[in-house]
């Protein structure tokens, strides 16, 4: 498969899954907060091509895309959002707490910045295993304002851990833009660089550019050169939390919205896919994914809820 197809297919799958979540959300059967990555699929698609099964990954409240990109089971994720016992977290975690240990997706956290040191701990374990595994830590721009982020980057640099901080910068912490959160001259890569962490910044909506960045940086990290940070500028198309659009609230300027709406990551890559049978391939892929999604949702809806007793049994090992 060409790299374009691989990237596009990965983005398309995430997009279609999340659009299905959004369109069914009003049925009120998915009764937990959902933070969709629609518009932010570029970094996850790139990650899915670069990450190895032995690698660890960890994420945030906006975790669907990362979970799927690491190879997390789709049916188990949908069941989890429905709160069913067949969910990846047996229904006790919900959308914000996804994990699939069998593929190294080691969790996601609702608390901003919370999973960052956990990811560094996974990096510490990976280094001790001496098998060239990487710990990938997904975080948003808001998390870089948390104290624990600095503690984590510092330790990763100090111990030269195989960690890649993947910072999806969508410009907003809920409704607050960067101008109210940090001085203008202060950028996320510059701060990380000043802590001794190799850092680069790329356009996250250009999936090909994201892929190149992740590939080159992860090769260095895998080689034992210490941690790195990749900032990927991107755009959240929908509201911070929930299935809807919230552009009517006016917290993002018309200018900003117009600019980013022309830069949908799927559209950008699609425009480069001009091969003779690319259109046909996309159509077939869409149909395959749609079938997979249908199965995932119908199985999730049919499954039962966990019992309180089953929840109690999860507490201690």
């Amino acid at each position: 498969m060409t790299e374009h197809r691989a990237l596009y297919g990965a983005m398309l799958r995430i997009r279609m899954v999340e659009e299905e979540i959004a369109s069914r959300y009003a049925e009120q059967e998915m009764r937990c907060p959902v933070h969709l990555s629609i518009g932010q699929e570029g970094p996850s698609a790139a990650f899915s091509l670069v990450a190895e099964v032995k690698d660890f990954a960890i994420s945030t409240h906006r975790a669907h895309a990362h979970y799927l990109a690491k190879g997390g089971n789709l049916g188990a994720m949908i069941a989890e959002i429905y709160g069913k016992v067949t969910g990846c977290s047996k229904g006790v975690g919900g959308s914000m707490h996804l994990a699939d240990k069998s593929v190294g997706f080691m969790g996601s956290s609702a608390i901003v910045g919370n999973s960052i040191p956990v990811g560094v701990g996974l990096g510490l374990a990976a280094k001790r295993q001496k098998n060239q595994a990487i710990s990938w830590i997904f975080l948003g721009d808001g998390a870089t304002e948390e104290g624990v982020y600095y503690e984590s980057v510092n330790f990763a640099v100090l111990k030269q851990l195989p960690v890649v901080f993947v910072c999806e910068n969508n410009g907003f912490s809920v409704y607050s833009d960067e101008s109210v959160r940090r001085p203008e001259q202060q950028t996320i890569p510059a701060v990380a660089e000043s802590l001794g962490c190799l850092s680069i910044s790329v356009d996250g909506n250009d999936a090909q550019a994201a892929l190149e960045a992740l590939r080159s940086v992860s090769a260095l990290v895998r080689d034992g050169r210490g941690p790195a940070l990749i900032e990927l500028h991107t755009f959240r198309q929908r509201e911070h939390c929930g299935p809807n659009f919230d552009d009517d609230l006016g917290y993002r300027s018309e200018e900003y919205l117009d600019e980013w709406k022309l830069r949908d990551p799927l559209d950008l890559l699609r425009s480069k896919m001009t091969g003779a049978d690319d259109a046909k391939w996309i159509e077939e892929t869409q149909s395959k994914i749609a079938n997979e999604i249908d199965v995932a949702f119908s199985e999730a809806k049919e499954a039962r809820f966990p019992t309180l007793q089953e929840c109690k049994e999860l507490l201690y090992a």
Partner: protein, 353 residues
Amino acid sequence: MPENTREITFADAVQEATAEAMRDDESIIVYGLGVNDPGRVFGTTAGLVEEFGAERVFETPTAENGMTGIAVGAAIAGVKTIVTHQRFDFFLLAMDQLVNSAAKWRFMFGGQFQVPVVFRLITGRGWGQGPTHSQSYHSWLTQVPGLKVVMPSNARDAKALLKASIKDPNPVVFIENRWLHQTTSLVAKGSEPGELGKSRVVVEGNLITIVAMGYGVVEALRACEELAKLNIHCEVIDLRTLAPLDIETIAESVGKTRRLLVVDLAPETGSIAHTIKTGVEDRLRGSEVHYTGVLCGLDLPEPTSHGVTMNFHVDAGAIFSRVSSICDGKSSIPAPLRTFPSDIPPQGGFGPF
């Protein structure tokens, strides 16, 4: 006495438990501020880096929250971590990672992970430790499902329970009172791990059950000795583990003595002493019980001045007075329990500790 048993300090027992566990299991690492410094966390990490190397025993940045999360991450990937803190108070910076990560990573991902981490927290006492060097929020932590909370009172239990905590596949908070470090008891080399969630009847008696934990047990036993001279025979129970809580052993004892006093050196409001009292009352409802009560610290931060701390702590004298008032109502505190100065351990010495 078995050949390999000898009298050692609580601090040495902690060191020995750690070293023995690390010999048995190469996945164990130890880190924290001071683990390799000249003091070696009051001697409790002495010799570890020399025996196990700097990859397994290392100093850390001053980053309590981050290092707690890092322990969780390492643990879910199979690296068992023992994290040390020279004061409980500093660990308060790590509440997010303790509560939202360590205690939840198993539950909230449907049981996919184990989180074998031991957090060793030391509570300061005396010599002006004051508002931010003397706190012990053990009762708070029992409010966090998913954690185990252990609080030994002597060297033998320290070793047995630390080994059990290290072996446990769950996050365990292991609380050491600074005044216990130099106390001694008979401890065996190469001993087996103890069992978490079991309290122990230390002294048998028939008139009243006194439940205490950590350093409070030392004070309770001192009071008990003097009370025995007045023919007031107390049954003293060392709680040892606060979560899971062994309420059955206590209820059984109170079923016999008909009286219960729960001693906690920490502030009274929200103390686990009340949980124990209520738990026992519930279990013994319908049977004859003459007294249930608690004796806890003031709802006040510890003042630094040694001019006031003499009246601040719950000590053997206070326990003696309360028990005496319950059981015979007439005895005044005997001379051996009128401790002065109150800001140094009974065995003597001076600070800073």
